[in-house]
C-alpha cells in the first residue's frame, strides 16, 4: 500500500483538475457545488474494491472505458491486493494510475480501515477560510444621491466571505458559510448579526451502517438522473463527451454560496443490504416579489429571485418573502450492476406561483402545490451501461423520460447517447436532467457522443445533439428546433505538452421583428466557435498556456447584423515548491462585436473560487494571482485583475454601471487548516 495520505496532497492539485474540467463548460454561477460533486471534494479515499461506476465516474480524468475495465478486472480476478495492480489493466496508462492513486485505497475490512485511518489522519480536521474582495472603481449604485444624501446600495463595496468546514473521525462533518456581497450591509441595518447569507450543516456518515448518513441544516439532494428531482447544479454538455450520466444519489452537505439553490432541513439515508432509502424534509425561504401582498389569501408571486443580492431597499424587501416546504425521497434497490429507484417529491409554497400571462408561460407550473414522482434505473453489463428515468408531475401529467447509454468498444473508442423527451407540461423547477436548456421542460432531443483515440497521445472528441421544442420559449414565439455540433482534436504528452483544436457550431432560433411588422418571426441563428489551445510544461514548476479563440454569430435574416469575436491569451504559472508558493499571470486581448458572439475563458482564482468571465467589446485584461504559505497550515492568496476596454466609455448597466472603461478587482484569501 503506498504511503499517500489525502492530507499530504496539495490542494492545488485538486484545483488544477477541476479547473481543466470547468474550463470546458460555459459560465455557471456556482462552481463550489460542482466541485463538491467530484471525488476531489471528499476527504476520504475511495475503496477501489467497493467503488461502483458512479463512484469512479466522479474522477473527471477517468474515461468510461477505464471505469468498465476496473470493474471487470475486479469481477474476474477478485479484489485488488495493491493499488499497483491497476498497472495490469491495459486501459490504464501510467499517468492515469499516478493521478488516481492519491484518491483510492484498497481497504477491505473495518480493522484495516481503522488502521489506515489512525496512521494517516487526525481525528479532528478543520479548515477556516476568509475572503475579502473589492472592485476599486465605484459603480453607480454606490454614488450618493444629492437629494437624499444616500446611495442606492446601502452597504459597503467590499465582499466578505467566511467559511469553516470540519470533520471528526471522518464520520461527522460540519461547516458554516457566511457571505456579504458588495453593496450589502454588514453588522448593521438589516444584517445586525453580520453576514447577509448564512449557511451551516451537520452530517453523520457511515457507509456500512444502517443509517448511511444524516444531514441537518443546508444540503443538496439528487436522485436518479435528476429528472424527478435534483437540487444544485449539474454538468451539461461539455468536452467530457461521455460524462452524460448523473451520478449523484442521496444527500451532500451544502458548502456553496448560491443563496437560493439548496435545501434547509433534515435528510436521512437508510441502508440495509441492497435496499436504500433517502428521505428528507426541508423548509426554505426564497427571494421573490409578492403581488397583492395586502391580502395574504390573494397574494401571489410571478418569479423567484436568483441573484442572492440584497443591496437596495427593494432587494431587501424581497428577501425571504416566499416560504417553500418540500418533502420526499427515494427508495431503491442498489447493487453494483443494477439499480432501480422510485422518487417522490412534494412541494408547497406559502403563496401561489403565477407566472406572467404570456404565451410561452402557458404550460408553466402555477399554483402553490406540486407533486413529482419518477422511476429511475441503471444497468451495467460488461462494457455497456444503460441508465434512464421516467417522471411525471402529479399522477400522469407531463410524462417525460431520459434514456441514455455508454458503450466502450475497446480502449480506443467510447460512445455515449442520451435521448430525452420532456413534455411541455413537465415544468418542475428542481430538475437537473441532461438537456439543452437550463430549464428542463418542453424539449425532445438526441445526443450522440464519441471519444476516439486512434493512436497514442491523440484523441478525438465529437458530439452531435439535435433538439426540438414543441412549445414556445422565452424569446422564441413558435415551436423551434436546433442542433449543436462539437469536435475537438487533442494531442497530449502529459506534464510536457498539450495542444487542442476545437470547433463548435450551435444552431437555434430566436424572435425577430421584421421592419413594419408587429409580429415576431423566427430567425435562425448560428454561433460558430473555433479554438486553439496550447499548454507547455517548460519545467516541472513552470507552465505556459496560450489560446486563440474565434467566434461568429450569424443571423439568417440579416448577414449585416452578424457579429464576430476573437480572443487570445497568454498565461504563465511558476510554482516554488520550497515555499509552497505559486504565481500565475495572464494577459488577455479580446475584440468581440456583440454579446451574442461573446467568448468565455476560465481563469485561475483563489482556492475554491472559479472565475469564467464572458468577454465582449474590445480591450485587454491582465491578472496576477499569487499564493504562498505563510506558516504551516496557513496559506494566503492574492489576486489583482484589471480590464481595460477600448471601445466603450462605461462598463455594465443599471446600478452596476461603472462610469469608466477600466475595472480593477482585488481579492485576498486566507486559509488556515489543521
Amino acid at each position: 500500500m503506498p504511503v499517500f495520505a489525502f492530507a499530504q496532497i496539495e490542494e492545488d492539485e485538486f484545483q488544477q483538475e477541476i479547473e481543466s474540467w470547468i474550463e470546458n463548460n460555459d459560465a455557471s454561477p456556482d462552481y463550489q457545488d460542482l466541485f463538491d460533486q467530484t471525488a476531489f471534494s471528499q476527504k476520504r479515499r475511495i475503496s477501489i474494491n467497493h467503488a461502483t461506476y458512479d463512484d469512479l465516474s466522479r474522477f473527471p480524468f477517468l474515461s468510461a472505458a477505464q471505469i468498465f475495465a476496473i470493474i471487470n478486472h475486479r469481477k474476474i480476478f477478485g479484489n485488488f491486493l495493491s493499488v499497483y495492480e491497476l498497472q495490469v489493466i491495459e486501459e490504464l496508462d501510467d499517468e492515469t494510475i499516478a493521478k488516481i492513486i492519491p484518491f483510492i485505497s484498497i481497504v477491505q475490512s473495518p480493522i484495516e480501515r481503522l488502521r489506515n485511518y489512525s496512521l494517516y489522519e487526525k481525528p479532528l480536521q478543520s479548515e477556516f477560510i476568509s475572503l475579502y474582495g473589492e472592485r476599486l472603481e465605484r459603480s453607480k449604485g454606490f454614488s450618493l444621491n444629492n437629494n437624499t444624501a444616500s446611495s442606492p446600495y446601502i452597504g459597503s463595496p467590499q465582499r466578505f466571505v467566511f467559511k469553516y468546514k470540519g470533520s471528526y473521525k471522518n464520520r461527522i462533518f460540519f461547516g458554516y458559510s457566511g457571505e456579504k456581497d458588495a453593496g450589502e450591509t454588514f453588522f448593521r441595518a438589516n444584517n445586525p448579526y453580520g453576514f447577509d447569507f448564512n449557511s451551516a450543516y451537520l452530517m453523520y456518515k457511515d457507509d456500512k451502517g444502517v443509517i448511511k448518513n444524516i444531514v441537518i441544516g443546508d444540503f443538496q439532494a439528487a436522485f436518479g438522473q435528476g429528472l424527478t428531482f435534483g437540487s444544485g447544479l449539474s454538468f451539461g454538455k461539455s468536452a467530457m463527451i461521455t460524462n452524460v450520466k448523473r451520478n449523484q444519489n442521496g444527500f451532500r452537505p451544502y458548502r456553496s454560496l448560491n443563496e437560493n439553490d439548496f435545501l434547509r432541513g433534515i435528510g436521512v439515508t437508510l441502508h440495509k443490504g441492497m435496499l436504500e432509502s433517502s428521505l428528507f424534509v426541508a423548509r426554505n425561504r426564497l427571494d421573490g416579489t409578492l403581488s397583492n401582498s395586502d391580502s395574504l389569501e390573494e397574494a401571489f408571486f410571478s418569479s423567484f429571485g436568483s441573484t442572492g443580492l440584497h443591496r437596495t431597499s427593494t432587494e431587501i424587501n424581497n428577501k425571504n418573502t416566499i416560504g417553500r416546504t418540500m418533502f420526499g425521497g427515494n427508495i431503491g434497490w442498489r447493487s453494483n450492476n443494477f439499480t432501480v429507484g422510485y422518487t417522490y417529491i412534494h412541494t408547497r409554497y406559502d403563496f401561489a406561483f403565477a407566472p406572467k400571462d404570456i404565451p410561452y408561460n402557458r404550460f408553466r407550473f402555477n399554483g402553490s402545490f406540486n407533486v413529482n414522482q419518477g422511476l429511475d434505473y441503471s444497468f451495467l453489463f460488461k462494457n455497456i451501461l444503460l441508465f434512464g428515468e421516467i417522471a411525471s408531475v402529479s399522477i400522469a401529467k407531463g410524462l417525460s423520460f431520459v434514456q441514455g447509454g455508454l458503450l466502450s468498444l475497446g480502449k480506443n473508442l467510447e460512445i455515449a447517447f442520451v435521448h430525452r423527451n420532456i413534455d411541455r407540461d413537465f415544468t418542475f423547477t428542481y430538475s437537473t436532467a441532461f438537456a439543452e436548456s437550463s430549464t428542463v421542460s418542453n424539449e425532445r432531443g438526441t445526443y450522440i457522443g464519441l471519444v476516439w483515440r486512434p493512436i497514442n497521445k491523440w484523441s478525438m472528441n465529437i458530439y452531435y445533439d439535435i433538439f426540438f421544442h414543441n412549445w414556445l420559449k422565452y424569446r422564441v414565439d413558435a415551436p423551434s428546433d436546433g442542433h449543436d455540433v462539437y469536435a475537438e482534436l487533442q494531442y497530449t504528452e502529459r506534464k510536457k505538452f498539450a495542444v487542442a483544436a476545437r470547433f463548435r457550431v450551435r444552431n437555434k432560433s430566436f424572435n425577430y421583428t421584421p421592419s413594419g411588422s408587429h409580429l415576431n418571426e423566427l430567425n435562425r441563428t448560428e454561433k460558430l466557435q473555433a479554438r486553439l489551445n496550447v499548454q507547455y510544461f517548460l519545467s516541472p514548476n513552470l507552465t505556459i498556456k496560450s489560446r486563440v479563440e474565434w467566434s461568429r454569430f450569424l443571423n439568417s435574416y440579416s448577414f449585416l447584423q452578424s457579429s464576430y469575436g476573437s480572443l487570445a491569451y497568454f498565461d504563465i504559472t511558476q510554482q516554488i515548491p520550497k515555499s509552497k508558493s505559486r504565481i500565475s499571470c495572464r494577459f488577455v486581448m479580446f475584440n468581440v462585436d456583440s454579446y451574442d458572439a461573446r467568448i468565455y475563458t476560465f481563469e485561475n482564482d483563489v482556492l475554491y473560487s472559479y472565475s469564467v468571465p464572458a468577454f465582449q467589446n474590445s480591450g485587454i485584461r491582465v491578472y496576477l494571482l499569487a499564493k504562498t504559505r505563510l506558516y504551516k497550515g496557513v496559506d494566503l492568496w492574492i489576486k489583482v485583475a484589471r480590464t481595460k476596454y477600448n471601445n466603450i466609455e462605461t462598463i455594465s448597466s443599471g446600478l452596476d454601471q461603472l462610469p469608466a472603461n477600466i475595472a480593477t478587482d482585488i481579492k485576498c484569501q486566507l486559509r488556515w487548516s489543521f
Binding site: 507547455y536 517548460l538 505556459i544 486563440v548 487570445a568 497568454f570 494577459f587 477600448n646
Partner: protein, 277 residues
Amino acid sequence: MNIKLLFLLGTIICSTNSKALDGSYVFGAKAYSLGFCGLLSNDLWSLYNNPGAVALMGKSAVGLSIQNKFGVSKLNAGSLAANLRSDYGSMGLFAFSFGNTSYNQYAYGVSFSRLLIPKFSLGITLYYTGIYVSDYGNFGTPAFNIGCAFPVNDNFSGAFKISNPTSNKISHLSAESTQASAAFGLSHKVASNTKLYLEAEIYESYPLDFRCGIEYAPKGSFYAMRTGFSTLRRSIAIGLSLEKNVKVIVAFTYHNRLGASSTLDTHYYFGKSIQEK
C-alpha cells in the same frame, strides 16, 4: 501619379494593410512569403515580428530588406537590422522607413532577447514609431513588443507576442493610436523537409488575422521555398531563399485589388553560434 492621389492611396494602404507601425505590421521577406507568419520565422526580422524568437537565431547577423508595394515607386519601404549574440542574450537594433517625402512612416528601436531555460526564450523590443505628413508635421510615440518562443521538440514550436498593449496615442491632434495586438503561433514539421506555420492575431479594431504558411526546405540544400496566405491582408504569397555565405530571400505577395508587392532581403551571418561555442 500626382501627390494627392499618392497620398490617398498611401492612406488607404495604411488603414487596410499596414496602419502606422503597429501590431499589424510584419517585417521580412521570409515572413511575407509564409503568408505573414512572422512569429516563428526566427530570423533577423524577429527583432520586430517576435522579439522572443531572436534568441533562437543561431548566429549574429546584419541584414537589409527592401520592398516595393503594388509597383508604385513611391510606396517603397526599407529596413536595416543587426543582431549580436552573446552568452547573456541577443541584442539587436533596427530601423524602418516606408513612403516618400510627402508621407512617411518610420520606426527605430532596440531589442533584447534571452533563452530563459533551454526551451523557452523571452524578448522585448522598445521602439519609437511615427508618421510624417508634409502638410501636418511629424508625430510619433514610443511603443514596445514583448514576445516568447518555445520549441517543444523537433516537430513542434509555439510562440506568443503582445504588441503595444498600452495603445499609445500617435498625435494629440487625432484619436489615432498605435494598434494593440496579441498573436499566437505554432509551427509543425509535417514531413522531414516541410514545415507548417499557423498563426492567429487579435487586434484592437481589426478582424482576427488567421495566417498559414508552408516551407519546403530540403536538407543540405541551399534553397527553400515558401507559400502562405493571410485572411486580414487578403493576400497570398510565395517566396524563395538562397543561402551560401549570404542569405537572400525574395517574396511576392498578391492582393486581388491592389496588385503585387515584392520584397528582397539579404542577411549576412557571422561569428559562432552558442552551440558551436
